[in-house]
């Protein structure tokens, strides 16, 4: 059984952070498993934390009238779930549901924001990492907008 600190140290999203910075996140983090089908958060709900996915998959979805919950993207192991806690209005843009059993580490986003405000160097480093996540998802979205697999006209 790994400790929370070991889980944080092993997660790719935090790779390269100093031991001191990991130590500052440790008291704000706790392992949080989700059984398959658990709704982790709802669209427009308060965004107060993020999750480092250790194992399993999480579907990001949106409720579309007449079509139900439409999956927009699946997040896999080694990725991070949730960045809306970092930017006002601190509300989830989409919903999230465990696509299967998920092992994760939940981190208190509100407390991490306070940590970032108090230490801009740490805040910059963490924000840079979350920006990379956001940029990566934006690029993936752009690619999917191209609808590359569509039959040529």
């Amino acid at each position: 059984m790994s400790t929370t600190r070991e889980l944080l140290e092993a997660h790719p999203f935090l790779a390269g952070l100093t031991a001191g910075d990991i130590g500052r996140l440790e008291p704000l983090a706790r392992p949080e498993p989700f059984p398959a089908g658990t709704r982790i958060f709802e669209e427009n709900g308060p965004a107060e934390r993020f999750w480092l996915i250790g194992d399993g998959q999480v579907d990001l979805d949106i409720r579309v009238p007449g079509r139900g919950d439409v999956i927009m993207e699946t997040l896999g192991p080694g990725t991070v779930l949730g960045w809306s806690w970092l930017f006002p209005p601190y509300r989830w843009h989409f919903g999230a549901v465990a696509a299967g059993p998920v092992r994760s580490i939940a981190v208190d986003g509100t407390a991490v924001r306070a940590l970032c405000d108090a230490d801009p160097v740490f805040g910059y480093e963490l924000t840079r990492r979350f920006m990379a996540v956001v940029v990566g998802r934006m690029q993936a979205t752009r690619l999917r907008l191209l609808d590359l697999y569509r039959a040529p006209a």
């Binding site: 079509r67 999956i71 993207e73 690619l143 999917r144 191209l146 590359l148 697999y149």
Partner: protein
């Protein structure tokens, strides 16, 4: 017979793969053409309609061929409508196929997008048949929707042979239990030593650019990263120039080209 004269093949069978894609089993009526290597292509002639390049997606019997064709135009539509007993013309084999086999002990990564799995299927089958030669073999498959995934019935066979098979789709309705997103998102499934990896990639060109770039960033050598490129193949023997991509005539120098040669060409606007 010359490379410019079609050989007659008979449609011995057909299988509907998706709403617009069919696999044709062809058997020779004349002397069979030389054996096709995985990744090579044939010019398929629907008599009275036209001729188009189609990669070989497998062998059929002793001298026969499997071709998976998507109906996107007049000739491909005619091929997709061909019923058993129809006679088609076949020229080939043309071009350079996949660099197979991969070196013993290598990690093998196969990335397919959409119809790109068709030319890769012989490579997957070969890797699965010789699975013990390689350290890891992973197949990553992207498609538009779950209904557009090619050869779903074979995925479990490949898994049973020890091949990691992972799928992802651009969009899915209720009932899809797999992943949604771009094929590079499946890279979290890779358990490779990049420097000892050989990768084979086929799909829409933009997809291949991103896949190759991301694999190269992981450390896969550009010369071990193989892409199957497509241009307007016509003669098949490097004479007509329709399939030129910079210094390459893809019907002769391709369609399979290593990323170290192909990469700069793929981002050149004039090409």
């Amino acid at each position: 017979m010359t490379t410019m004269t079609p050989s007659r093949y008979r449609v011995a069978g057909r299988a509907d793969e998706t709403a617009d894609t069919v696999t044709l089993a062809l058997e020779p009526l004349d002397a069979p053409l030389p054996a096709f290597r995985p990744g090579q292509f044939a010019m398929l002639y629907a008599f009275g309609v036209g001729e188009i390049p189609i990669s070989v997606s497998g062998r059929y019997g002793a001298g026969g061929l499997l071709h998976t064709v998507r109906a996107v135009g007049a000739t491909s539509g005619a091929l997709c409508r061909a019923e058993p007993g129809t006679t088609l013309g076949v020229r080939g084999p043309f071009g350079r196929g996949w660099a197979l086999p991969a070196p013993d002990g290598a990690d093998v990564v196969i990335v397919a997008g959409g119809l790109g799995l068709a030319p890769l299927r012989p490579a997957v089958r070969q890797a699965a048949a010789h699975r013990d030669r390689y350290r890891d073999v992973t197949v990553l498959i992207g498609a538009r929707t779950p209904e557009d995934l090619l050869y779903p019935g074979e995925h479990d066979e490949w898994r049973a042979a020890g091949v990691g098979v992972h799928t992802i789709v651009d969009r899915a309705g209720a009932g899809w239990g797999g992943r949604v997103g771009v094929v590079t998102a499946l890279f979290d499934r890779l358990r490779i030593r990049p420097a000892g990896t050989v990768a084979y990639v086929c799909g829409p060109e933009v997809m291949m650019r991103f896949v190759a770039r991301d694999l190269a960033r992981l450390g896969v050598p550009a010369e071990a990263l193989w892409l199957s490129l497509e241009r307007n193949m016509h003669c098949g023997i490097g004479h007509c120039g329709h399939c030129q991509l910079g210094p390459l005539l893809l019907c002769r120098d391709g369609p399979v080209v290593a990323f170290d040669a192909a990469g700069p060409l793929l981002s050149t606007r004039e090409l």
